[in-house]
């Protein structure tokens, strides 16, 4: 039962969110070599401890978030909007 602090909506139940995937992946250019795409799509680390994940606030503001969560304790260390422009815009307001 996570409570996630959406930077736009505030702290909400995890039932409003949907887990995405590994937030540390930087996807290559659409025409990058095949090996780069194989790495990005199929290779994952299995982390014990803090990891960066993507979550979307689907029943909320639809913002995609980068969340640092501890896989052992569920502690959430940080949450920020994935879109850098949005993250910056939210720093200004609220």
């Amino acid at each position: 039962m996570l409570r996630i602090k959406c930077p736009f909506c505030g702290e909400r139940d995890h039932s409003e969110f949907s887990y995405g995937g590994d937030g540390s992946i930087v996807y290559p250019a659409l025409d990058a070599p095949m090996q780069d795409w194989v790495e990005a799509v199929f290779q994952r680390e299995n982390i014990r401890g803090m990891q960066t994940e993507t979550w979307q606030h689907v029943n909320g503001c639809r913002t995609w978030l980068l969340v640092e969560r501890d896989t052992m304790t569920h502690e959430i260390r940080s949450v920020r909007a994935a879109h850098p422009g949005v993250a910056k815009a939210l720093e200004g307001s609220s």
């Binding site: 736009f8 909506c9 505030g10 909400r12 139940d13 039932s15 409003e16 689907v58 029943n59 909320g60 503001c61 639809r62 913002t63 909007a81 879109h83 850098p84 422009g85 949005v86 910056k88 815009a89 939210l90 200004g92 307001s93 609220s94």
Partner: protein
């Protein structure tokens, strides 16, 4: 010209209209005009100020709070999107250039319910996992949250009642669930 039909058309019964004592009523608000305005990350402030000025709003709609001018509400529902919610006579909406942003008419996509009475908050908390206590969700507050795994938007009116915007296709199903639960609040 034909009149638009509500999603709840054909589902109302007398029992629905009677309400649930003096402490709870669920009513539909029809004739909704809902326009979505979307901007870009680098011009949210200027678009927001334009909307506030052209709609005659008393201030900027901070995330989580709607501002109001008569029948018209302005709320920032996503970091880059605002909704103009109008329950009165149709208004014309500020135009935007493509570099400024986009407009989208969503007037038919939602069903609007007004839930009033002392037990309104308790009824909503049967379904909505958000904090509706007065100190946390006072008049003017607005939030999008989950109702049976669908997205709904809830707003607190000046008089303390709640406005609920449901996706049209889910409206009958959710409205029926609310009525069935509301029966609990009928005294005696």
């Amino acid at each position: 010209m034909a009149s638009p039909i509500s999603a709840l058309d054909g589902y109302h019964t007398a029992e629905h209209s009677n309400g649930y004592g003096r402490e709870l009523a669920i009513e539909e608000v029809t004739g909704l005009q809902l326009i979505q305005v979307a901007a870009w990350a680098d011009n949210t402030d200027s678009v927001e100020q334009r909307l506030v000025a052209e709609l005659g709003m008393p201030g900027i709609p901070l995330p989580g709070t709607a501002v109001q001018n008569g029948d018209v509400l302005l709320a920032r529902v996503e970091p880059l999107k605002w909704w103009i919610l109008n329950s009165g006579a149709e208004i014309s909406v500020p135009e935007l250039s493509p570099t400024e942003g986009c407009l989208l008419d969503l007037s038919h996509s939602r069903t609007w319910l007004a839930i009033s009475g002392e037990n309104a908050g308790s009824l909503l908390n049967r379904f909505l996992p958000i904090d509706l206590r007065d100190a946390v969700f006072p008049a003017g507050s607005i939030a999008t949250t989950a109702f049976h795994h669908t997205g709904v938007t809830v707003h607190r009116s000046a008089d303390g009642s709640y406005n609920l915007l449901l996706l049209r296709s889910f409206a009958v199903s959710l409205w029926q669930m609310m009525h069935e639960t509301a029966l609990q609040f009928k005294a005696g």
